[in-house]
């Protein structure tokens, strides 16, 4: 039996963050490691449209039309073959209070995990965030060194502006991403109003993203090709796969790709780990002093439940489904559309707002125009005529609030190993009455009837199933990541988050995983 000091399962953000601290010390990473089935052959959306390549643009099996024939069947970002492979792990339905399926989701078996399709908003949590969400047994200061280390590793674009304190005290920011005219107009209005009238009821600033706006650590900048709906292979946007490649290039760990964890057994001085080959299904057993589970909340929780034969036990499950608000900035109608853009333009929060809501403003430039037609309550030919003039003055606000665990929202696994997520309680955003007038002052208009609440399951910020506690009970984790009754098995992904602050959790997920990895190094056992 091959034996290692440490085995990490999963190559997503949590897995690679831990691996950076445990490499060169007898580390093995186990990874299903799926890669995209084909590479999108165009550097920009414009090039692809100019080519007329139907297979690349709409998919060899018309995958990009999936929401046309079956609305809301798949998240818009996961339709194409070049992105959809990211969510081909263990499937799960998300059920509402009546047991109806809201969303058919899946975990990730991709190398780099769900980070391949994320928006790369990488933000620090502050103590105010942790207090607003509740029940965190660690302080933001426990993560500071890890935030700094990861930010230097990744390269974060942003600005030291009015949102700096809210987003976290990141230093050494790369230049911020360029703004489309509509976003620049809003920001200019914000600056003028804030200067004349003191603090507005809204705080606004530049997005903070893991996107290179200049060369960083030998990596070239992002080209803003608007291909995020077609491909995960965009140079210059950070995903965990970049760190995975670096680790593999260094040869500092053993990589068992094409394998999944099926079971583990903890003994006094080691853990035996059963792995199944993705191709062929053969089982092999390896050993380790310490096992770190970083497969993503859904997969990790399933593995722990199956290992404990806890079929039917429902553990708390938290998601972060955003509220969507289309915005129209009439001053910018008819503006020239940029040839290149990044999706996340600006961020904001309501001053004195409940639970520190996080608002991200997106420019829908990467979507095909035909994607937007279905959302317009007009004859399609008229909608097509309007779009080129409207798009220059359109943004979409995505609004997140803090998400604590809610009784009834939970994940369970059946005797057949199938995952079910019950999510009867999806709290609607109640701050719209306050937000809309604030946005109108910035020249951005919308209507309440245009608001849509993303269904649970489409937030993709899954957390809370094995929450860390100072004194954990069954199916909870210690602050150092250990399962409640374990010495050698730890959880390093979002499962351990006891609640979700409003802000994007990705950087904190990585920082916390790094913190737990350092705890493992301290362990004398």
């Amino acid at each position: 039996m091959d034996f290692f000091n440490y085995v990490i399962v999963g190559s997503g953000p949590a897995g690679v963050a831990a691996a950076r601290h445990l490499e060169r010390d007898g580390l093995c990473m186990v990874d299903a490691g799926e890669l995209p089935p084909a590479i999108f052959p165009y550097a920009t959306r414009h090039d692809a449209l100019a080519s007329g390549d139907i297979n690349a643009l709409l998919g060899p099996r018309w995958e990009m039309l999936s929401n046309v024939v079956l609305p809301a069947s798949v998240h818009a970002k996961l339709r194409s073959p070049g992105t959809g492979y990211v969510a081909r792990g263990e499937p799960f339905p998300v059920l509402d209070a009546a047991g109806r399926c809201l969303v058919n989701g899946a975990g990730s078996y991709a190398a780099g995990g769900m980070s391949n399709a994320w928006g790369a908003q990488l933000l620090r949590y502050t103590d105010a965030d942790l207090a607003a969400a509740g029940d965190w047994p660690i302080a933001a200061a426990d993560l500071t060194n890890h935030y700094q280390d990861l930010e230097a590793h990744i390269g974060i674009a942003g600005a030291s502006d009015d949102m700096h304190g809210f987003l976290g005290e990141t230093t050494d920011l790369l230049p911020p991403t360029p703004l489309v005219p509509a976003a620049q107009h809003m920001l200019d209005r914000y600056a003028a109003l804030s200067g004349r009238h003191g603090a507005m009821g809204l705080c606004m600033g530049r997005a903070r993203v893991g996107l290179l706006t200049r060369p960083h650590r030998g990596y070239e900048p992002y080209t803003f090709g608007e291909t995020e709906f077609f491909s995960t292979e965009q140079h210059g946007i950070y995903t965990a796969r970049r760190t995975l490649r670096e680790l593999l290039d260094k040869g500092s760990m053993t990589y068992l790709g094409g394998h999944r964890l099926v079971a583990y057994r903890e003994a006094a001085d080691h853990v035996e780990i059963d792995l199944q080959a993705c191709a062929g299904g053969g089982i092999r057993t390896i050993g380790a002093k310490h096992l770190l589970l970083g497969c993503g909340t859904v997969h990790t929780t399933r593995l722990v439940l199956l290992n404990r034969r806890a079929h039917g036990l429902r553990l708390p499950f938290i998601d972060h489904p955003p509220t969507l608000l289309p915005l129209f900035i009439p001053r910018m109608f008819g503006s020239a559309l940029p040839d290149a853009s990044s999706p996340i333009q600006l961020v904001a929060t309501v001053r004195g707002g409940r639970a520190h809501e996080m608002i991200s403003f997106y420019y829908p430039g990467a979507l095909l125009r035909s994607d937007i037609l279905g959302d317009m309550p007009l004859p399609m030919n008229v909608a097509l005529d309007l779009l080129p003039n409207l798009l220059g003055g359109m943004l979409v606000a995505q609004i997140w609030e803090a998400s604590p665990p809610v009784a009834g929202n939970g994940l369970s696994v059946g005797t057949d190993g199938a995952i079910t997520i019950d999510y009867p309680h999806r709290a609607p955003y109640t701050g719209m009455a306050r937000l809309l007038p604030l946005l109108r002052r910035l020249g951005a208009f919308s209507l309440r009837r245009l608001v849509s609440d993303s269904p649970p399951g489409w937030g993709f910020h899954y957390a809370g199933c094995l929450p860390m506690r100072a004194d954990p009970g069954p199916f909870e984790t210690h602050v150092d990541g250990r399962l409640w009754d374990s010495r050698r098995v730890r959880v390093i992904d979002g499962s351990v988050f006891p609640s979700l602050p409003a802000k994007n959790h990705s950087l904190t997920l990585m920082a916390n995983s790094a913190r737990i990895a350092r705890e493992v190094l301290k362990c004398a056992c």
Binding site: R61, L65, V68, V69, F333, S370, M380, N381, V382, P388
Partner: protein
Amino acid sequence: MQAENDHNVAAALARDLDGEARYLYRRLLGGEASAELLGHYRCAHRDLIELRDIGAAQRRTLDIIVSRQLDATGIEPWLRGGTSPHALAIKLRLLAYLGECVAAHPRFSRRTASLSGALVDLFLRMLAALFSLLRGYLQKTRHGLL
């Protein structure tokens, strides 16, 4: 004999599809659909079951719209709201995607290069939308379209 019959049926279906595509394309985007686009339209109907297996009521609606040259884009909004999209909506969306991706139709990029021009254009398009919706409603009602 059977093979020849099957071939004749397939050819007739293809001609029907081409005729349908040409008409809907003209209503949606204007101009003539290219042979390449028509080919993709037929392929989509071969590959997507939602386009092959259309119920009788929706098939009748489509046939009437095409044969009587009705305002397809004005009628379509009045067919929304069911448990699944109407076949007319799916076909129009398919043609929109094909027009954007294959034909690079100028309708997807045409823009008025000034704010005042954009606002005037917006006003005129909304008037056109109202007129089209009214006409579509009347046609839907008069022809009993479902």
